[in-house]
Symmetry: C2
Subunit: 110 residues, 2 copies
């Protein structure tokens, strides 16, 4: 679902990735990282989609919350395993959301 | 593929959407909007993925390029059709990318 973020400014971390064919442990690790992120201070929500490319955007109250999450994530063993096994390439972009607008014609946003 | 963006700062427009079941004309309209975006000044690239949620991130040289794209897109008939037919909900977030880092272990990034 579309995350119901607060009034900008807040921080978006855009994680774009290309997977390897290796599936072992991936879904479990992803669920663990999502649960870990949700426990962090300043976490606002996360959106995720995957086709040939995967895109996950996590939202944070501010830049410091996003930096703190990076430090937590780097210590997670599963992130190192991800680099070695599951991702052929990835790029992480940290951005300050300055404005937003949307549309809702029915259920879907929360 | 992961877009090969320049050194920050640059602008990211994060478009998150929930589709309706209506498929008629959607793929063609999407291809048209992608082609139209690619013609605009300051366009740096676009990444897209869809599962239950769709996420498309377009990258722009600066905020003014992103604003100009919004004006162009609003005049596209297909955007109004999109709101009426294809999207149950969407959210557009405009953000300034302040830092990025990545990893590449093989083909995939360009």
């Amino acid at each position: 679902m579309v995350v119901n973020t607060p009034e900008p400014p807040y921080t978006a971390v855009i994680f774009t990735s290309v997977r390897t064919p290796e599936e072992t442990g991936y879904d479990e690790a992803t669920a663990q990282m999502v649960a870990l992120a949700a426990e962090q201070p300043g976490f606002l929500g996360m959106e995720s989609a995957r086709a040939a490319l995967g895109i996950t955007v996590s939202y944070w109250e501010n830049d410091e919350a996003a930096r703190a999450w990076k430090r937590v994530a780097e210590h997670a063993v599963i992130q190192r395993r991800g680099r070695a096994e599951w991702y052929a390439a990835y790029q992480v972009r940290v951005a300050t959301v300055t404005r937003e607008y949307g549309h809702e014609s029915g259920p879907g946003r929360r």
